[in-house]
């Protein structure tokens, strides 16, 4: 606590530091909200500048960008079905349907509060027990445990947004199939690449989500305008009530824990945190059919978890020198530029600096709450713009976003094809959210499965002897069995009753 007050005082009594803090906050939010460019782009651009700053300022700047960048994409995800960054993709699943129902401000309000809450709790956890958590997480969770976790998450993916469970399952399988394009994770052999360098790199995730969400939505809306069935979207400002949050307290707590956990483990990070947390929100919900159609707890789960992952991602970086993602890897570069090495010793050798960083991350999340509050009241009015004027702008942003990720025109084509395919799939009752879940969980799941098999020497019994793996895989099988059972058995009266609640 003393350390925290020291860090906070140092942060607020230093005008340059405060300026950098505000710059990082706004910059991260801006870059996070534009698809294609994200906080990584900002991080790479400003990297050369950091050599001229003090170490405290430079590292504090990156940690603030990290916090606000993860939040920034939520607003465009909710308003226009454009996830600003991949970690906001699950926010579109329910956030955009809420906008269509005229509840945009309620969704944004929930996203703001949950982002801030997830970030603050994760910052507090980070401050209280960094070295301890890092050591436990890295040794308890190897590739086999991560595989089991992903398999567990994949089991509920079929319930998202499809007409029937079968269509949902097919959607997830399609996503997993898309994830196999490129190179296989074991020996990097080309797979479904057809001799093309482009396909060898795999189908880009960003063009895919832009196509499936933003582009296919333009088609859907255009169709409704042509047929005259489009309802006017209300831009009423209506915040979620405290009572609503109290009802979702378990979702919030669960999402913070999932996000925190996913953030600590190297190679998982905020994107997977959001997807896994969304999956769990469905699993624990009484009425699974509401998800994908504008259920506020879907937004809450996704946004709480991705921000909760930010503080957590600092833990392995600071305590073990293990960057979990690209931005934390850049932060390690900033430490190096200033002649410091991250690792257990950093808490002893640069204790002041660490506490300034912790304080900055804490207050960055508090500021998200304040800024987000103002944003909620203002950005909702963008919805007053007629859709026929808005659509070209969305299209333009999406094209630039798809291109900018890898500077590739082919990515733009992938996005447009995904947009067309997404439109047809949605019309026929399949779930684009399920496809996207399949792509991300399938791709990562295969990669950790290969490592798992190598570690346990292809011995499935040895795999099940790891307690965490056994627990998660058994739970996954039970979920799967229950889902199938529910689908094949005729609806019982009590089941229908429960549905109508």
């Amino acid at each position: 606590m003393e350390n925290f007050i020291g860090g906070a005082t140092a942060l607020f009594t230093d005008p340059t530091g405060l300026l950098i803090f505000i710059g990082g906050l706004l910059g991260g939010m801006l870059f996070g909200s534009i698809p294609g460019i994200n906080m990584l782009t900002l991080g790479a651009v400003i990297l050369p500048f950091t050599a001229g700053m003090t170490a405290e300022h430079a590292i504090m700047l990156y940690s603030v960008i990290y916090c606000s960048g993860v939040f920034g994409g939520a607003i465009t995800a909710i308003l226009f079905n454009i996830p600003g960054s991949p970690e906001n993709a699950p926010t579109t699943f329910d956030g955009y349907p809420m906008t269509l129902k005229g509840e945009a401000s309620r969704a944004i309000g929930a996203a703001v509060i949950c982002s801030a809450l997830g970030g603050v709790v994760s910052a507090v956890l980070m401050m209280s027990a960094t070295p301890l958590i890092a050591g436990i997480a890295v040794s308890a969770f190897g590739p086999p445990e991560v595989f089991a976790l992903i398999a567990f998450g994949l089991c509920v993916a079929a319930s998202v947004g499809a007409e029937t469970l079968w269509k949902g399952t097919l959607s997830v399988f399609l996503g997993m199939l898309i994830a196999t394009v490129g190179t296989d994770p074991e020996s990097a052999e080309a797979r479904f690449a057809f001799g093309s360098y482009y396909l060898l790199a795999g189908i880009g995730f960003v063009p895919l989500i832009l196509g499936f969400f933003a582009i296919s939505e333009i088609f859907v809306q255009a169709g409704q305008i042509v047929s005259g069935t489009r309802a006017k979207i209300s831009a009423e400002v209506k915040f979620p009530s405290i009572w609503e949050f109290w009802r979702m307290r378990f979702t919030v707590i669960r999402s913070v824990l999932i996000g925190f956990f996913a953030g600590v483990l190297p190679g998982i990070g905020a994107t997977l945190a959001a997807f896994l947390s969304y999956g769990e929100a469905i699993r624990w919900s009484k009425d699974k059919s509401k998800f994908g159609k504008g259920e506020i707890s879907g937004v809450v789960a996704s946004e709480t978890a991705n921000n909760s992952a930010t503080g957590a991602a600092m833990i392995p970086l600071l305590a073990l020198g293990l960057p979990g993602g690209a931005l934390t890897a850049m932060m390690m570069g900033v430490f190096e530029i200033h002649g410091m090495e991250v690792g257990p010793l950093v808490f002893i050798t640069s204790s002041d600096l660490i506490w300034i960083v912790f304080a900055a991350m804490f207050f960055a999340n508090v500021c998200i709450l304040a800024l987000g509050w103002i944003q909620t009241k203002t950005v909702v009015h963008l919805l007053r713009i007629p859709f026929r004027r808005l659509a070209p702008a969305i299209l333009l942003i999406a094209i630039v976003g798809a291109y900018a990720g890898r500077n590739s025109v082919l990515d733009v084509w992938v996005m447009l094809i995904a947009g067309g395919a997404g439109f047809l799939l949605r019309r026929t009752g399949y779930s684009v959210a399920g496809i996207v879940l399949g792509v991300i969980l399938g791709g990562l799941g295969e990669s950790v499965f290969v490592k798992t098999m190598q570690i346990v020497n292809y011995d499935l019994i040895a795999l099940m002897q790891r307690p965490i793996v056994a627990l998660l895989l058994i739970a996954a099988s039970i979920t799967l069995a229950l889902n199938i059972l529910r689908e094949v058995s005729p609806p019982k009266p009590d089941f229908a009753e429960r549905q109508s609640k």
Binding site: L200, A201, P266, A326, P344, R406, K451
Partner: protein
């Protein structure tokens, strides 16, 4: 966006190197370079290759009045950027950064272009070797001899974290080592470096094959220690770690190197200008400092264009010999 980025990078470079007022390189007789030079990096922003490219871009800007724009084009194990480079005009305004991975891809038949022949090397700016690492608190073995003994007593038990593909510098080096040392590891392939390191530190694998610069924080933090250097003779920085000569292994290990290329048919004068810019850039204090932090000063890192061609030629021969043996 790109123009903003260029401006920012150029601005920062001026800020950084304003103090090192070295004699600026004159332009060529045809006025090259009169506009920004594009440097294509086949990997994402923030990684090892991106860092060296940006350091070199800044260094070239400090020794000349040229501005260098770094463009990241990741994907396909560094191959996605190749068509972009090949289709750019061969007027010297496009520079390609690549590493030994392109050479390995060529030897494996994944890339039909030979980096030493079809591209024009401008120089190599980073050259380093691999080592084997174990956890510092490992109780079963603490040095190379104990590791070999343990592996022979418990066949198939010792796991080693390496990159996924076997047709890479890391894969070939491991093959050569296993053959000549008579040791057999169970290889676990990881595509992301951080997962590779976490698996060793977290105790999910036993040994790691890596270059010292990449895991320097773990060495300084005392979490990992080297047990073998994959070089014939012990370098001064690791004089207490056995090397291949101590094992009686007589193979020539493959090195990790990162260099810069332009098109083969670029005008001769512009090629010479670029090669000189890379050489002078390498000599700058800032770049030397950068390389030192990455342990890239343990063996001499710079190779001139002709030496780079020789190095690439030699490694192609080694790769091909090993690949043939594998098939």
């Amino acid at each position: 966006m790109i123009s903003l980025k260029t401006k920012l990078v150029a601005l920062s470079a001026t800020a950084l190197f304003a103090t090192t007022a070295a004699a600026e390189m004159p332009k060529t007789s045809d006025g090259f370079p009169e506009r920004p030079i594009t440097m294509i990096v086949p990997f994402g922003a923030g990684g090892g290759s991106d860092q060296v490219a940006r350091a070199m871009a800044a260094a070239i800007e400090s020794v000349s009045d040229a501005s260098v724009m770094v463009v990241n084009k990741p994907g396909g194990g560094g191959l996605s950027a190749v068509p972009d480079f090949m289709s750019a005009p061969s007027d010297g305004y496009t520079v390609f950064m690549h590493l030994d991975m392109a050479v390995a891809s060529h030897a494996a038949g994944d890339l039909n272009l030979n980096p030493g022949k079809d591209w024009q090397p401008l120089g190599i700016a980073q050259l380093t070797f691999s080592q084997l690492y174990v956890r510092s608190d490992e109780t079963r073995f603490s040095n190379w001899q104990e590791l070999v003994d343990y592996a022979q007593e418990n066949p198939g038990e010792v796991t080693l974290a390496n990159v996924g593909a076997s047709t890479t510098m890391e894969g070939v080096n491991l093959q050569l080592l296993e053959e000549s040392a008579g040791i057999d590891f169970r290889v676990v392939g990881f595509d992301k470096p951080s997962e590779r390191y976490a698996s060793l530190v977290g105790g999910h694998v036993d040994v790691l094959l890596e270059q010292p610069g990449d895991i320097r924080p773990f060495l300084d933090g005392g979490q990992m220690k080297p047990v073998l250097t994959l070089l014939q003779d012990r370098p001064a920085a690791f004089s207490d770690v056995p090397s291949l000569a101590d094992l009686g292994a007589d193979f020539v290990p493959l090195m990790r190197y990162r260099g810069f290329f332009t098109h083969r048919d670029a005008p001769e004068e512009r090629f010479s200008w670029l090669a000189e810019a890379v050489r002078q850039g390498f000599e700058t204090e800032a770049f030397q400092e950068f390389n030192k932090k990455k342990f890239m000063d343990v063996v001499e890192s710079y190779r001139s264009p002709s030496d780079a061609e020789t190095l690439i030629d030699e490694s192609i021969t080694t790769y091909k010999t090993v690949f043939q043996k594998l098939n």
